[in-house]
């Protein structure tokens, strides 16, 4: 970068900054919308024009985490007094209900679905990245017979939109009893991500000079030790970048989760819209569910941001 900028360069810089700001705002707008709706009282969620200033409250989250059904009449003052503070808050917000039926307060299905999402996404990411790294290493370092064909074959699994095979997959899964199981989804997502992970990791491992491992081999290490002590640390950036992509894919997947699961292993994406279902949709609850759903990816990406940035420019910079 030149230390002295000309007038036109400075003008161009300003234009670029403005453009970046505008694009950032466009990208952030839906996130702001979701986040603000998640903290709005129900009556402010659908106003026209939208309410920007409001007193945030957590009643959408209370409603998200508890199961309730609509009652014909308002609860009695005794019932109101006996309810916990968060339920009273929901009631003050204009809801007729305090708790599920006339019985105890029931937790909703959301935490379970959220856990399912975590289990499925994390396990399938670990599997896809792990197997992908090993496979990529093999392709990168050894002369494999028909290497180009095999790599093309691996890539070809991405050439169809996955949903095309949804019905055969569903029938197969039902036949072997994998539908509505964690492993069913884990296997599915691992298979989706594997080709991507092999190709991406091959690129990263190709960039690591062979001499590093050769030096380790001569220094008295086995190939396996050299792989874990040299290749893995050197490929950390690539592994992180691949993991983020795989995690996001598995985390966001909707179609197969909807088809293959219904209760036990259902993940959050098909569950959240199902809450729109009966009666008048409560957008605040959906927004609360979506908001929480965004957090893991945001945190994961934030933690790996340095690796990710380097991963994006990998190979472009000669070290």
């Amino acid at each position: 970068m030149a230390a002295v900028q000309t007038r036109s360069e400075r003008a161009l810089n300003r234009v670029a900054i403005v453009a970046v700001l505008v694009i950032t705002l466009i990208f952030l707008a839906p996130i702001y919308w979701i986040t603000s709706t998640a903290f709005k009282p129900r009556n402010l969620a659908t106003t026209i024009p939208p309410t920007v200033l409001f007193e945030p409250e957590i009643s959408p989250f209370v409603k998200l985490f508890t199961k309730r059904s609509q009652l014909r009449e308002a609860p009695s003052p005794e019932e109101y007094a006996a309810a916990p503070w968060w339920e009273r808050m929901v009631f003050d917000g204009g809801e007729k209900i305090v708790r599920s039926g006339r019985g105890e307060i029931q937790p909703s299905g959301y935490p379970n679905r959220f856990m399912n999402s975590l289990i499925v996404a994390i396990t399938s990411t670990v599997l896809a990245v792990g197997m992908g790294t090993f496979t990529a290493y093999g392709f990168s370092r050894f002369s494999v017979k028909g290497e180009a064909d095999l790599l093309f074959f691996i890539l070809s699994t991405r050439m169809l939109p996955p949903v095309v095979v949804a019905i055969p997959m569903f029938l197969m899964y039902r036949a072997v009893g994998l539908n509505d199981t964690h492993w069913g989804l884990i296997i599915l997502y691992t298979a989706f991500n594997l080709s991507f992970s092999v190709w991406l990791m091959k690129g990263f491992i190709d960039e690591i000079p062979k001499e590093y491992e050769e030096a380790a081999l001569v220094d008295g290490y086995t190939r396996m030790q050299a792989f874990f002590k040299i290749v893995i640390p050197e490929a950390a950036t690539g592994i992180a970048a691949t993991a983020v992509f795989c995690f996001i894919t598995a985390w966001n997947e909707y179609a197969f989760a909807l088809i293959m699961t219904n209760r036990r292993a259902q993940t959050a994406p098909p569950f959240i819209p199902s809450q729109v279902g009966s009666g008048l949709p409560d957008w605040t609850v959906i927004a609360a569910g979506t908001f929480l759903f965004l957090l893991p990816v945001a945190i994961f990406t934030f933690l790996l941001r340095n690796h990710l940035l380097r991963g994006m420019s990998f190979g472009a910079i000669r070290k």
Binding site: E211, E214, A216, L217, V218, D219, G220, Y221, T222, E234
Partner: protein, 369 residues
């Protein structure tokens, strides 16, 4: 005590034979340099000794034990790579300690060894740094340290200073020599730079297209090259080569280079030597290094008049191109000896420094006058 022996090594890459029947015995403590152009098989040979490359035929013996089927990690050999191959995610200390951690050495012993070798290499102050923060010379010291720390049976070096700039290369050359004298381990060193080879080697092994051309001390390969390839590869500037015919006039032999008006005067004994060597006249190549071309500013007995063409002043000496027939013969003179191009001077060839080769086979006729 480590001796390395290569017996009848053959190596193919697909259909290409990169090493052709290589035989070589390396003595304990010897500094051997494999010298040749890129693609001559020298690096492949080194990697085969290290165990990073398999061989198709032959035996590699370390202390009499065949090792060609033993994994690299079990051969107890250290290697320095051209790219240094320092692990970027480890500090200098960890890099040097890395080979020791492969053994079951205690933490204290590792620490002692690392500090000892760092002291020898004068890099103690750098132990906490990452390789990316080092200069080229320091990287190379660390790479050598990592190789030496284990006290391996043998050291292999693959153009270890090829990536450094000229001044640093000279410095590190001296350093490697100093270390070899101090630590004394059997070393095989690969380079394409003949100056490096000459200055470091106990013996030089010259290879060309997978075939061993000559083994000998630097003096031997310089003064008695086995063939035209070695003659032209070793020494700078390169040896003059010219097609020559020999005739006898007035009690001495005359060696006439192609297109030359007159022949260079040689002792009469040359004719006998040539017939002893069964050399065919007309298939003879004369070789002479620039310092073997003697120049005089005035006419002298046995000197031939020639014209100076180009003069390269190199400070300590000049290289003068002389036109002889249709050939250019380069001579080495004191600086400023020939005042300028176009100057007429007188030249002769020192018979003691003349080499004769068979033009067809390229091999030396072994004639010493």
């Amino acid at each position: 005590m480590t001796q390395i022996e290569l017996r009848g090594i053959q190596k193919y890459f697909g259909a290409v034979q990169v090493i052709k029947d290589l035989n070589l015995a390396i003595l304990d403590n010897e500094f051997i340099v494999l010298l040749g152009q890129s693609g001559c098989g020298k690096t492949t040979t080194l990697r085969a000794v290290a165990g990073l490359e398999t061989i198709d035929e032959g035996d590699i013996l370390i202390d009499g034990q065949p090792v060609q089927h033993i994994k690299a990690s079990d051969r107890d050999i250290a290697m320095v790579f051209q790219s240094f191959s320092l692990y970027p995610h480890m500090t200098v200390y960890e890099n040097i300690a890395f080979p020791l951690r492969a053994t079951r050495m205690s933490r204290n012993d590792v620490d002692t060894s690392v500090r000892e070798i760092a002291d020898v290499l004068r890099i103690t102050g750098l132990l906490g740094r990452k390789p990316s923060a080092l200069s080229g010379g320091d990287m190379q010291r660390v790479a050598i340290g990592r190789a030496l720390v284990r006290r391996p049976k043998a050291m292999l070096m693959d153009e270890p200073i090829g990536a450094l700039d000229a001044k640093l290369r000279e410095e590190m050359r001296a350093e490697i020599k100093r270390l070899h004298i101090k630590q004394g381990s059997t070393t095989i060193y690969v380079t394409h730079d003949q100056v490096e080879a000459m200055s470091l080697a106990d013996r030089i092994v010259i290879m060309h297209e997978g075939i061993l051309q000559q083994i000998g001390s630097p003096q031997e390969v310089y003064a008695r090259p086995a063939n035209m390839f070695v003659a032209q590869f070793v020494g700078s500037p390169v040896m003059n080569m010219a097609q020559a015919t020999v005739s006898e006039t007035g009690g001495h032999a005359s060696v006439q280079v192609s297109g030359g008006a007159r022949g260079f005067e040689f002792p009469a004994a040359l004719a006998n030597c040539l017939s002893d060597a069964k050399a065919e006249n007309g298939k003879l190549t004369l070789g002479v290094r620039p310092e073997g071309v003697l120049i005089s500013r005035e006419a002298r007995e046995g000197f031939m008049p020639v014209v100076a063409h180009i003069i390269e002043p190199l400070g300590s000496h000049d290289i003068v191109d002389l036109k002889v027939g249709d050939q250019m013969i380069r001579a080495r003179t004191k600086s400023g000896f020939v005042p300028g191009p176009g100057e007429a001077v007188w030249a002769r060839i020192d018979p003691a420094q003349a080499h004769f080769f068979n033009t067809a086979t390229g091999s030396s006729l072994g004639i010493r006058l």
